[in-house]
Amino acid sequence: MRLMQNTNIPFVGIRYWAYALSAILILAGVVGILVNGLTWSIDFTSGVAATVNLKAVDAKVAPLKIDELRTVLKSNGFPEAEIQRVGDFDKANFMIKIKSKSSTSDVSSETKGKILDIIQANFPEYVAGKDISRDVIAEIYEVGPKVGGELRAAAGLAVLVSLLLMIIYIWFRFELTFGLMAILALFHDVFIIVGIFSITGKEITVQIIAALLTIVGYSINDTIVIFDRIREDLKTYRKDPVAEVFNRAINRTMSRTLITAGTTLFTALALFFFGGSVLHDFAFAMCLGIFFGTYSSIFVASNLVIDLSQATHKEKSTIQHLTKRK
């Protein structure tokens, strides 16, 4: 069985369509970020996030409504609490989030205790017969403002450092134009995913940052496979026009690109559907990343190299530089 054998899709020819599509996606992301902003998780903003299980042991008790919980927390000194359901309706897991209002004001370390007290006092029928620390608390995170701020800086730095290191690597292994354009394609991937998170209102958590970095690694992997083939083919087909060599290289690596994207997407989808609530958003980001990473490797990165080297009239020296080395 073979996929994509001897294809000759004019990837280079249709590149402006691809650029247009990317521009639209990025623009949508920018608008999303400008309008909605980004929702940073309490890892970054500091505050308390508590997930509690309020499924009554007694089957006769009606399931707790999210509004009841909200009202009770509001009247007990937490009007700013955000509450949402986590996982299946039947499981009755609620996440209560209380973010620090400013970077200096501290959510006191008693907050989590207070929330639990309020729940115990107001919803005795839902905690009856359960051990608070064993059965009710699913997880609680409490982050002080200092840590939150540091983490945000660290996350941004991590993404930037990894991109920079990759430019250097590709510069060293290939050539600067290739390095720069590969990174541009990576920015493109990261930007689109962050945009989608902004539009859908999903939170940027530490795990999402990890997913973004993994996507960066994955997408560059794809891009390099194509670059590698371009380099090799430039040596083999010295007489052909550059655009043709590029197009041939993309086509000949197509099957590999799609197969790897496919197997990785299988596993990311398995995580998304079966990996449980904690990994849900992480898996979502990974699925998006694999999709857009593959797209940008095929349609954006190498095409940008063509355009930039033409625009800067460095086409010849770029090719010489690449083919000169062993």
Binding site: M1, L3, N53, S109, K112, G113, D131, S133, R134, D135, V136, I137, A138, E139, I140, Y141, E142, V143, G144, V147, A155, A158, V161, S162, M166, Y169, R173, V206, Q207, I209, A210, L213, T214, G217, I220, N221, D222, I224, V225, D228, S255, R256, I259, T260, T263, T264, L265, F266, T267, A268, L269, A270, L271, F273, F274, G275, G276, V278, L279, F282
Partner: protein
């Protein structure tokens, strides 16, 4: 006999390492030296608690500050050991942070309190009634003269004056009977009483350093300890001589005892209390204090709160005493631990806390393994269908690769976290990439009409460069992630990195060896790929 090959040796080592470290998971009754290397689950999978603490060294000199953090770590470790937590981890992070991980802890409130708790134990004499009265008068006078320093009291004072003089213009000149501080308290049966609704205000005042200056030299005020029943009742305020007769450093040992139900002392009957034993010098001091101050009261003060203030009826020798104070059993246990381990050298503050319930952890392990299994089956089936026999070989090796990741995690004593599981699952998808690259290349070579052997040779030769390039960049991303992250994210980075290294080895060495040894033997004309 075939000639020796490095490739063969490396495969043997690869398999042995994997088998060695995975065996403890499969066979529970291995000898101890072998079985102890078992893969550890992270907090997010077992449930437990993690606290990041910051040590406040602002009041210490640089040299002391350095020692203080280490000293604190030692004390925290001792406390946790006495509390009884299996496999706690206490690490220093940076200059003045301490990361405490307590897997499997369910009583997280008690654990947090125990770690943070300070216990400044002091024995102080209670002031005689007339002294107390004078002290109160002096405090009132001092406060009236410096009312501007105590905005809350000033406000209260203003309100009082308004009540006395309805005409607000004259309010300031109205003479109140006593100072504003003593309006908050009233003489009680013994000492003074604070009305329930003023407790908070007095508490704040007692902690205020300006107020401390208003108290005459040689004296101090302290409230009595409240328990669950008395928390909403009026509270006693005691005037103490500030001279410390005995302190925590005179203590040799503290332990929890339980009062018998027949005891005549209501503070002890059927309740836990702490019995303390003093060191030799402490016992001598105690003997002297009790001998010199017969019929006065000696207060046992912990962190500025009076736990009890029994009357001294006799000279007490032997250096034994009891701290009573309506403890709950767990309170008493924790306090005894803190008294035994000594005080923290510098105050600590938790700056972030994570608590993961055991149920969520178990759920995560279950759903993570389900997702992993489904992903693995999907990938394995695909490779089998698409690359046939070669795909089967890649699948066979892939299973080893997953085992290898778990084995190396075990070998380094790393923990498996939930993001780590995600990393393994993603690695399954990515691990076949190197094989795909190579197989696709071999197919191209076969299309050119090469024999299987030369197609595999040249296919590998060309694809390996790409495999290196592509995987090194992913490795860079993993390294950055490791640097940036903490805890679970590091777990993810580590599994990703091990997965990359393992999959490169598998594709370049392992699969190729199998192909060359078993599949393209002799002059076979076809290759199932």
């Amino acid at each position: 006999m075939k000639k020796f090959s490095w490739r063969g040796l490396s495969i043997v080592i690869f398999i042995c390492v994997t088998a060695f470290y995975l065996a403890p998971l499969a066979f529970p009754n291995l000898p101890e030296w072998w079985g102890k290397n078992k893969l550890k689950l992270g907090l997010d999978l077992r449930g437990g608690m993690q606290i990041l603490l910051e040590v406040d060294t602002s009041e210490l000199s640089d040299a002391d500050a350095r020692g203080a953090v280490d000293q604190n770590i030692k004390i925290i470790r001792e406390r946790i050991d006495q509390f009884g937590v299996a496999e706690p981890s206490i690490q220093k992070l940076g200059d003045k942070r301490i990361m405490v991980q307590l897997p499997g802890v369910t009583n997280f409130e008690a654990a947090e309190k125990l770690i943070k708790q300070t216990a400044m134990l002091e024995f102080k004499l209670v002031a005689e009634a007339e002294d107390s009265k004078k002290v109160m008068e002096l405090i009132d006078a001092n406060i009236t003269n410096n009312l501007a320093l105590f905005p809350k009291l000033a406000e209260l004072d203003k309100k009082d004056r308004k009540l006395l003089a309805p005409d607000s213009t004259k309010a300031d000149s109205v003479k109140t009977e006593s100072g504003v501080f003593s309006t908050l308290i009233r003489p009680g049966e013994r000492d003074y009483e604070i009305q329930f609704d003023s407790i908070r205000m007095v508490q704040d005042l007692l902690a205020d350093s300006l107020f401390k200056k208003a108290v005459p030299m040689g004296f101090q005020l302290a409230m009595e300890k409240a328990d669950a029943q008395t928390a909403k009742a009026d509270r006693r305020l005691v005037v103490l001589h500030s001279n410390v007769e005995l302190s925590g450093s005179d203590l040799a040992k503290a332990k929890v005892d339980f009062g018998s139900s027949t005891s005549t002392d209501p503070r002890i009957a059927n309740k836990p209390y702490i019995s303390i034993e003093m060191k030799r010098d402490g016992a001598k001091k105690f003997e002297k204090v009790t001998g010199d101050n017969m019929n006065r009261r000696l207060a046992i003060v912990l962190d500025g709160i009076v736990y009890s203030d029994p009357n001294i009826n006799d000279k007490i020798s032997g250096g034994r005493a009891q701290i009573t104070g309506s403890f709950t059993t767990s309170e008493a246990t924790e306090l005894a631990i803190v008294l035994n381990t000594g005080n923290l050298v510098a105050p600590i503050k938790p700056i972030s806390t994570s608590i993961i319930g055991a149920t969520l952890g178990t759920d995560s392990v279950r759903s993570g393994s389900t997702a992993g299994l489904i992903g693995l089956i999907a990938v394995v089936l695909f490779m089998l269908i698409y690359y046939k026999l070669s795909g089967f070989i890649a699948d066979f090796v892939l299973v080893f690769n997953v085992g290898f990741i778990l084995a190396i995690l075990t070998a380094f004593g790393a923990t498996l976290t939930l993001p780590g599981i995600a990393g393994i699952i993603l690695t399954i998808g990515m691990a076949v990439d190197a094989n795909v690259l190579i197989f696709e290349r071999v197919r191209e070579e076969l299309d050119l009409g090469k024999t299987p052997r030369s197609a595999v040779d040249s296919g590998y030769k060309r694809a390996v460069v790409t495999v290196w390039d592509a995987n090194l960049t992913t490795l860079i991303a993993a390294a950055v992630l490791y640097q940036f992250g903490s805890g679970p994210i590091r777990g993810f980075a580590v599994t990703l990195a091990i997965g990359i290294v393992g999959s490169m080895f598998c594709a370049i060495v392992f699969v190729r060896s199998i192909l060359e040894t078993f599949v393209i033997t002799g002059t076979s004309k076809k290759l199932s790929i």
